[in-house]
């Protein structure tokens, strides 16, 4: 594809994403933040995001799919231990999980495990 088409494709993709945002604003403009409907919708949004993140761990696509499931889960699990030990510390959990994962994939790519 030539460059101009790639920009055209990008414009379509931007529109395809913005559609959901605008639909959300349109519907939400009629909502009252104190209502039960509002609380249920917040739960739906959290449920959807948790489902998305969990799916990325279990069934990733792209580069992440080339790593073993056990590496992803061990890294996440050790991060969780630190996260809760440090009083729900986001930084502690994230850095431990990424470092463990990095260590595992590095040793694997050198054929050590």
């Amino acid at each position: 594809m030539v460059q101009i088409n790639l920009w055209g494709l990008l414009a379509l993709c931007i529109g395809a994403t913005y559609f959901w945002r605008a639909a959300g604003v349109f519907i939400a403009s009629k909502l009252d933040p104190g209502s039960d409907l509002f609380k249920w919708l917040a739960c739906v949004a959290y449920g959807m995001l948790a489902g998305l993140i969990s799916r990325i761990f279990i069934f990733p696509v792209g580069l992440l799919a080339e790593t073993p499931l056990i590496d992803r889960l061990v890294a996440l699990g050790l991060g969780y231990i630190l996260f809760f030990m440090m009083g729900r510390n986001l930084f502690a959990g994230t850095s431990v999980a990424v470092l463990v994962f990095l260590a595992l994939t590095t040793t694997r790519s050198y054929g050590l495990i």
Binding site: L9, A16, W20, G24, A28, A42, G62, M86, T94, L102
Partner: protein, 245 residues
């Protein structure tokens, strides 16, 4: 999280600056790093640097950007690419629903809400839902914008960096950068305190992969509806003091 809650802002400018300050730390760092992963992927998929950065600023939703890069690299037809991007970013609809009513307190912001919504991503969204209700209503919008502008800037910077350094990074670094994004969000949501939302998060984490097996396209929205209703319903059933507020 460990750190004490910062004071609530009193003026528009303060709210904007506090939002920027909160984003300028772990959220900006994580975004920068994960967009390095996307930037190098964009180069490999045949994007120009302009399109790579343009997709971060314009689409501003990583799963959709990844879908665009992947299906473009595979040579998929335009309609298929656009549909897969759209499906991958469908979460913005349910995300907007609880956030938008919180923006109503700011008259100017409310007028521009269809523009402001473009800046919504998980980080500022989670921040507004957590801190917004205890803020003066008119200050939520500037707080959100301050937070978002730092996020989108570091995302764009990360994309450019990734595009430039792509190829020179070994597999294990690139994949660790990609891994950073989901782990960070897993812990971010593990810090949520409202019981109904916690229950919805747990249900969603269990149902997400299962529903995906049933239908990769519709599994996610179905998971949101099911998990959200479970969380909301269980919380109502348990009742009691520790309730949803």
């Amino acid at each position: 999280m460990n750190n004490p809650e910062p004071d609530n802002p009193n003026t528009t400018k303060e709210a904007f600056v506090i939002g920027m300050g909160e984003a300028f730390g772990l959220p900006a760092l994580v975004l920068f790093a994960s967009m390095i992963g996307f930037g190098s992927m964009a180069l490999e998929s045949g994007f120009s640097i302009g399109v790579a950065i343009g997709s971060t600023i314009g689409i501003w939703g990583l799963p959709g950007q990844v879908a665009m890069a992947e299906s473009f690299a595979l040579g998929a037809p335009v309609i298929a690419i656009v549909l897969s991007v759209s499906m991958a970013n469908m979460r913005f609809l349910p995300m907007a629903l609880p956030m938008v009513p919180l923006l109503r307190g700011n008259k100017t912001g409310w007028k521009w809400r269809y523009l402001i919504i473009h800046f919504m991503s998980i980080n500022p969204w989670a921040a507004v839902l957590r801190r917004g209700p205890e803020m003066k209503p008119e200050l939520i919008t500037p707080y959100f914008l301050g937070f978002s502008i730092v996020c989108i800037s570091s995302g764009a910077l990360g994309t450019a960096t990734g595009f430039i350094v792509a190829g020179s990074l070994p597999f294990y670094i690139t994949v660790a950068l990609i891994f950073l994004n989901p782990v960070y969000f897993a812990y971010l949501f593990s810090g949520v305190r409202q019981r109904n939302c916690i229950l919805a998060l747990i249900a969603g984490a269990i149902l997400g992969p299962l529903f995906y097996l049933v239908s990769p396209e519709w599994g996610l929205p179905a998971c949101g509806l099911a998990a959200g209703s479970i969380g909301y319903g269980l919380d109502k059933m348990i009742g009691g003091r520790n309730g949803s507020d």
